[in-house]
Structure formats: structure tokens, C-alpha cells
């Protein structure tokens, strides 16, 4: 239960519980992102071999993130928390447009539309939580303002269907990848900071 009131006379959600909720949310967001990508891939891009073209980087590739277990374990938790917040912030804008642009697609399937809207909402909710966690660990801070701009809205609105579908494919491919990174980093941070690396 929340510690109420604690020494400072206030009442707060324990840090361990904040992390539990953040991990449940990051797990849910990645689950939705994977499902949305698979559904879109199955429905719109079969035989178009987009994977070979999609490998030229996501808009967040300017944020240097750990690529394996060792790098993830060696990075300072403050830097890793800031990276997570940076990636989350970088997705605020594209997720707003993804939801509205999916709506404009020919017979936009409700299930993809619902997921795009739900991911946008939950991403904002997770960002709020991560700023809370950073504020708790480094009192007062809400993470540095680093994030990476997304400029691909025009490509989601192209007339040429193939190019437009590829833009959607790439955005969902990158969302699946980045949401998996966030989920993985938060699970490592939780074990490190809350369970003394002994999950």
C-alpha cells in the first residue's frame, strides 16, 4: 500500500511500485506494437519485400542506445533512464499522426486504428510515469530534453500507394523495435534498482 503519510508528511507510491507499473505498461505497449505491425504486414505488405528497404534506420537512431546485454548493464542507470525518456518523447509526435493517418486509409481496419490510438495514449502515460521515476531518483529532474525529431509525416500522405504503404510499414517496424528496447531496458533497470540485480 502507499506509504501514507511518510516522514515528510506526504504520501507517495513507492519507487518499486512505480517501476512495476512502468514495466507492465511498457510490456503492454510493445505487445500492442507487435500485434499492430504483424496485422499491417499481413494485410498490406505481403510480397512487397519492404524489410530489405526498412533497414535504413529509424528516426530515433540518432539516440545511441545499448545494443546488447553488456552495454545495457554497463550504462549508468541515470543515462539509461534519460534514454528511455528520450525515445518515448521522440514517439509522441509520430504516434499522434499515425493514429490520424491510419484513419484516412482505405477501409482502415478498426483493430489497427484502435491499437494506434491506444498506443498513443499509453505512450503518454508511460512518459508521465518515467518523468515521475526520474524525479524520484534524481529529485526534481524530469530527464534531459534530448529527443529525436520525426519528419516523415509527408511520406504518410503520399499519393503513390506503394511509397505510402512503405512509410507506414517503416514507422510500425520502428515502433515495434523501439517499444521492445524500452520494455527490455525497463526490465533491466527494475531488476538493478529494485531487486539488486537479483530478479
Amino acid at each position: 500500500l502507499p506509504i501514507c503519510p511518510n516522514e515528510s508528511g506526504t504520501c507517495q507510491v513507492p519507487l518499486g511500485e512505480l517501476f512495476e507499473r512502468a514495466v507492465r505498461l511498457s510490456h503492454y505497449i510493445h505487445f500492442l506494437s507487435s500485434e499492430m505491425f504483424n496485422e499491417f504486414d499481413e494485410r498490406y505488405t505481403q510480397g512487397r519485400d519492404f524489410i530489405t528497404k526498412a533497414v535504413n534506420g529509424c528516426h530515433t537512431s540518432s539516440l545511441t542506445t545499448p545494443e546488447d546485454k553488456e552495454q545495457t548493464q554497463q550504462i549508468h542507470h541515470g543515462d539509461l533512464l534519460n534514454l528511455v525518456v528520450g525515445v518515448l518523447r521522440s514517439w509522441n509526435d509520430p504516434l499522434i499522426h499515425l493514429a490520424s493517418e491510419v484513419q484516412r486509409m482505405k477501409e482502415a481496419p478498426k483493430t489497427i486504428l484502435w491499437k494506434a490510438t491506444e498506443i498513443e495514449e499509453q505512450n503518454k502515460r508511460l512518459l508521465e510515469g518515467m518523468e515521475k521515476i526520474i524525479g524520484r531518483i534524481h529529485s526534481g529532474e524530469t530527464g534531459n530534453e534530448v529527443f529525436s525529431q520525426w519528419e516523415d509525416l509527408p511520406s504518410l500522405q503520399l499519393d503513390d500507394e506503394d511509397s505510402r504503404l512503405f512509410a507506414f510499414y517503416k514507422l510500425m517496424h520502428c515502433l515495434r523495435r523501439d517499444s521492445h528496447k524500452i520494455d527490455n531496458y525497463l526490465k533491466v533497470l527494475r531488476c538493478r534498482l529494485i531487486h539488486d540485480s537479483n530478479c
Binding site: P2, T10, E17, F31, W114, Q122
Partner: protein, 210 residues
Amino acid sequence: NVSPPEKPRIIKCRSPEKETFTCWWKPGGHPTNYTFLYSKEGEEQVHECPDYRSGGPNSCYFDKKHTSFWTVYNITVRATNEVGSSMSDPHYVDVTYIVQPDPPVNISLELKKPINRKKYLVLTWSPPPLADVRSGWLTLEYELQIKPEEGEEWETVFVGQQTQYKLFSLNPGKNYVVQIRCKPDHHGSWSEWSSEHYFQTPPEFRVKEM
């Protein structure tokens, strides 16, 4: 002669789907004005109730925009009449702990006839509509209670996150009544029991050999 209002008391706060929540307070006797105030942990600012109406009398409703999972709400209610006013004790709310879903719905029964084996019954149900859309955000666990219609004692079975249950060990050709309830898998409390569902087991009915 009018005395200052009784000290108000917050009696319940509940979130049905981990997205919004409502709090209710116990009103005093004679005509009094109530002000519902809250602050969020780590913030100095005090806010007033965003919506006094949607939750019914003596209530405050927090829609999605006003509901946060990352903080504890410090809530007080002030009662005022022409003679004076009085303040409730602070009431702390962490939304995750006040989630109480609505009961499960669409309870139905199906008789299964596997080819070379005896028939058996499968009970199925659906999550409460409000929670259903959020299946990943709000994970529910279920419990059912069943008894012979004229029986006294309920048998309770915890079925985890499944939304079906194979009924094996019942007596053939008998009347039974069953109810189901649900709870978040993490904090929060049990819903009310669903409405009672009556059924009769077929004559040649399989008893579980497991």
C-alpha cells in the same frame, strides 16, 4: 439554532476500469455546501473536483485526463453552512488500489460431446464490457461459485485468467446455480458476483477421471 456542519467523511473511492475513478462522501444532516479538494503528491497546488455530477450526489468523478497512476491523491472535503465549516480528515488514494471491476457478463453453458468420450459441460463468460477493451492494460482473474440449486454451501473455484471452465464432477440430471466474479490480477478488489445462472446437467454426464 444552527451549529457548524458535522465533519464530512469520504466513504469510498472506486475505479471500474483503471482509467477513471469516483469518490463519495457521507453528507451531514441539514443543508450544507460541500467542496471537494485534492492535491497530488509532490505538487503544492490544490485543485477542486473536476466533476461533481457524473458520479451522482455527494461524489466527485475524475475522467481519464484527471486520473494518474503515478501519484497518490490527497483528498479532503469541506462542509460549509451559514454558521461555519468543517474539514474531513485527509483521504489518500492510489488509483491502482481502488480498482474494482464490474461483474463478468455473458455467462453461458455448452455441452461438449468428444467422439470417444463422455459428454461434459463448459462454462464460459466475458470480462465486464468496460474492462474488455483494455485486456492488456487491466488483466483480470476470475472466481466462480457453484452449488446444487437447493444446496446451502457454495463451492468456490479460482480459475485464474481463463474465461472458461470445464464442469466435470457434477451429478447427472441435477439443477445447479453458478455465479462468477473478477478482480485485477494486481491490487484492487473483487467485483460483485454476477447474476445467478441456473442450469441442469444432462442425464449421462461424465465425472472427471483426472
